[in-house]
């Protein structure tokens, strides 16, 4: 009896290889020679790794690590990449850092280069609240009409972007409509009356002798203007016409007067550069100018 036979080794007819003689519930194994290609593949991948370890930061040594002959540092590479991108934009972006925005907006060649980037900047930072086309939505003002809470010139828009509204910025624009009903500043009847008055605006249509007109004159005109046209740069919107931030049906207007509104826009000063803020300001100013569905005050 040979050693092979003793271990039950036999020749597999399909491959011609010997089995190892092991047998588990019918499973056997072929004693195939170790495939050369696996050794070559291991050698090749190891060579790749060796090269990478020599060139790049790779192995820890105590509190330090091998730096690699290329001396690469991923933070430095990233910063260099950003700097290179910025240099590529500099020729048209630099004027926005500190320039006369009205003059820049009047330069068609510059606008042709800047506005596509501004549109993406708007989509990435502003569209979540104001909509991809800047038309706003419940709670967020439409930027395409002629009604502005804080002014619609590029410079005032840039300032709004920089400091935000009711934000944490030290110079933030502040605009808080009080909760006239909830805080007991007006009686329930007065809130109802002024709601009816506001819904009936403009003044030519509303009853100037009504109780609502009285309440309006005493409580609302300071911010919203004598005729409710807004636009005083106080953050108070126009109450005239069909365009409403928080909804213009009776229940919504009533809710606004009862509970007040303190809309927030974040300050973008830390997140966007001065040039990017100015670029966006020009873009937003043009949104309104390019889309004149403004209503007569």
């Amino acid at each position: 009896m040979t050693a092979d036979q003793r271990h039950g080794a036999e020749i597999d007819p399909a491959t011609g290889y010997e089995t190892t003689g092991h047998d588990w519930n019918g499973i056997r194994e072929l004693n195939t020679p170790f495939p050369r290609i696996v050794i070559w593949a291991l050698a090749l991948t190891f060579l790749y790794s060796m090269i990478a370890w020599i060139l790049l930061p790779a192995w820890p040594i105590g509190r330090d690590f091998t730096r690699g002959v290329l001396g690469l540092d991923q933070r430095q590479i990233a910063m260099q990449g950003y700097a290179a991108l910025e240099r590529g934009r500099d020729d048209w972006m630099a004027p926005f850092a500190a320039g006369n925005l009205d003059a820049l907006a009047a330069d068609p060649a510059l606008m042709a280069r800047a506005m596509p980037a501004a549109q993406r900047l708007f989509a990435d930072n502003c569209a979540a609240c104001h909509g991809t086309h800047g038309t706003g939505g419940p709670g967020f003002p439409d930027l395409t009409d002629a009604n502005w809470l804080w002014g619609g010139s590029p410079d005032t828009i840039a300032e709004t972007l920089r400091v935000g509204i009711n934000s944490g910025h030290p110079d933030t624009r502040v605009s808080q409509m009080p909760a006239f009903g909830r805080d007991g500043m007006l009686s329930r009847e007065a809130v109802q009356a002024v709601t009816d008055y506001v819904l009936a605006l403009p003044g030519s249509a509303a009853d100037a002798q009504s109780a609502g007109a009285q309440v309006f004159a005493e409580n609302c005109v300071a911010c919203h203007g004598e005729n409710g046209n807004g636009g005083l740069g106080t953050g108070a919107p126009s109450l005239v016409g069909a365009r409403w931030i928080y909804g213009g049906d009776r229940a919504k207007v009533l809710a606004t007067i009862h509970g007040g509104r303190q809309g927030v826009m974040p300050s973008w000063a830390g997140r966007l550069s001065a040039a990017e803020i100015n670029l966006l300001a020009v873009y937003v100013a043009r949104l309104g100018a390019n889309n004149q569905h403004a209503e007569a005050p």
Partner: protein, 543 residues
């Protein structure tokens, strides 16, 4: 299942179930409200139900005699049923959340049904519920056959299976209640993690005791893989889940790791969960069921040994490739990248060994959908390990990272490799466990195969397209040096791919449902032509 236990074992089981009920009562009493109280109530209810069924059987006839001379297959059968239940439930949740990405407006208003809570229900349900139960169930079968020994005892397999599924149920119901550690694939909270350690140690002890009683001189390679799975998963699970509970009477906890160390520990865990849960364990399954079904010897004994040690050695280094271009130091990234590339060799050696084993049996691959499932699994194993090594190379990763390419890669591995090998094993095992030579509906296997292949390909190809599209849109600049696309545009560009992904997932789910029904029909069918595929057990000393 109780009929297979001796009266003495039923008494031990009764003690254990009363223990679970008391544990549940303590959790309920300590927490009083919130996820931990609900989980306590679940354990209490489980303990009471099991205790009542055991008490009721204490005076029933004892276990049939001569069982020491037979393999113990009831736990495997039970585990396979749980596998399919989890598979159907968790894949349905997967299809639902995929649909939500296409129709986000369809999200119901309740917090429990939000995308963020349902997604981990899908991942935990498929990985741990579907995959984990399949691994435990098949490992118990393979262990006994390749050791030619009956399981070392009859109670602990039930403790392992029921305890493990209690963990899975705690995990997914916790997510629905908003309870999570926020660590991917390790979301379950601290008490569930501790419970899993207890269950897992019982599993390891059962495995080692049975292996020690083996009547074969050598330990078959499948057992090496299953053991690596059990041991390393225990190590990963414990290290990644070390956390300080805010209170022992509540579910919340904070991990002891912080910052970039936390990220590194998490992805050391996360990638080795892929390695030792989704790869090593399933390679064990492949190394047993593929040669059994093909009736062919393993092509190379040496290759199977070298691949095993290669996979075990290289995998533990590569987790850092999940953190390329982050705060993780560059040198750790380089090591992760290079070891990922070297890992390809033992991975492909395993896939090649499996495919070469089919030499001489290719006509069976053509005719037998069950074997074809296993062949396709080996092919997808090769494809996704290549893709994994490729994506681990830093510059490639700079394009693919954070995109749906990653999702496509994961599903090429989980649908194409893990699920396919599970289905191959199930279709091999279930007839045998039911005393039959074939499944109840043999034609349904063929349908299932093509549904799975179509679903996987549609899913994976649409995610490849989605991921590469996203990656390119995010890094494209226009002539003026500004970004060419806003992020929003890259989201909107995903719509067709997300729709296709949902369709692919639905096809795959349909196949799984078909499989579950087929298995149910087979288990209920009359035994026909009992297969004598097993060697008889060697006579054992009397228990």
């Amino acid at each position: 299942m109780i009929a297979s236990l001796s009266i003495n074992e039923r008494q031990v089981g009764l003690m254990l179930t009363i223990g679970v009920a008391i544990l549940g009562l303590i959790m309920l009493g300590a927490a009083k409200e919130g996820p931990m109280a609900v989980h306590g109530a679940m354990a209490l209810a489980l303990g009471i139900v099991l205790a009542f069924s055991l008490v009721g059987s204490l005076f029933d006839p004892d276990a049939p005699g001569g069982r020491a001379a037979r393999y113990y297959d009831e736990p495997t059968r039970f585990g396979l049923m749980l596998t399919l239940i989890w598979g159907v439930v968790a894949m349905s949740v997967g299809v639902w959340v995929a649909a939500l990405l296409y129709w986000p407006e369809a999200t119901p208003l309740w917090p429990a049904t939000s995308f963020g809570r349902l997604r981990p229900v899908h991942t935990t349900g498929v990985i741990f519920g579907f995959g984990g139960n399949a691994l435990i169930a098949t490992s118990l079968h393979v262990l006994q056959r390749t050791s030619r020994a009956r399981l070392a005892d009859s109670v602990s397999p039930w403790f392992v299976l029921i305890g493990y599924n209690l963990f899975c149920a705690w995990a997914v119901t916790g997510y629905l209640m908003g309870s999570t550690q926020s660590k991917e694939y390790a979301e379950a909270e601290w008490y569930a993690d501790i419970w899993l350690v207890v269950v897992w140690v019982a599993y390891l002890v059962l495995y080692l005791r049975t292996l020690a009683r083996r009547n074969e001189p050598h330990i078959y390679v499948a057992n090496w893989y299953y053991l690596a799975f059990i041991l390393v998963v225990a190590m990963l699970h414990i290290v990644n889940n070390i956390a300080l509970p805010v209170s022992f009477a509540g579910a919340r906890s904070f991990p002891v790791w912080s910052g970039v160390q936390d990220a590194m520990v998490q992805w050391w865990y996360g990638h080795n969960a892929v390695a030792f849960f989704l790869t090593a364990g399933f390679l064990g399954m492949l190394y047993y069921f593929l040669p059994v079904r093909a009736e062919r010897p393993i092509w190379s004994y040496r290759l199977s040994i070298v691949s095993f040690w290669g996979i075990v050695f290289f995998y533990v280094w590569v987790g850092s490739h999940h953190l390329h271009y982050t705060a993780l130091p560059y040198w750790v990234q380089t090591l992760g990248m290079t070891f990922s590339v070297m890992l390809l060799v033992p991975s492909w050696a395993s896939a090649g060994n499996a495919i070469a084993t089919l030499n001489g049996a290719w006509h069976k691959v053509r005719d037998d959908a069950t074997l074809r499932f296993m062949f396709v699994a080996a092919v997808f194993y090769g494809l996704s390990t290549f893709e994994g090594s490729f994506l681990a190379i830093r510059p490639v990763n700079s394009l693919s990272h954070y995109t749906d390419w990653t999702v496509g890669h994961v599903h090429s591995g989980t649908l194409g490799w893990v699920a396919m090998i599970i289905f191959g094993a199930i279709y091999t095992l279930v007839p045998q466990l039911s005393g039959r030579t074939t499944m109840a509906w043999p034609k349904a296997i063929e349908w299932h195969f093509w549904l799975s292949i179509a679903g996987t390909l549609i899913y994976v190809v649409s995610m490849w397209n989605a991921g590469i599209t996203q990656g390119l849109m995010w890094r494209t600049y226009d002539a003026n040096g500004g970004l060419a696309y806003s992020f929003l545009e890259s989201v909107m560009a995903m719509a067709p791919y997300y729709l296709l992904r949902t369709i692919g997932g639905a096809l795959f789910l349909t196949g799984t449902v078909l499989c579950a029904l087929n298995v149910r029909a087979t288990m209920l069918a009359t035994p026909v032509g009992a297969g004598a595929s097993d060697r008889p057990l060697l006579t054992q000393p009397a228990e």
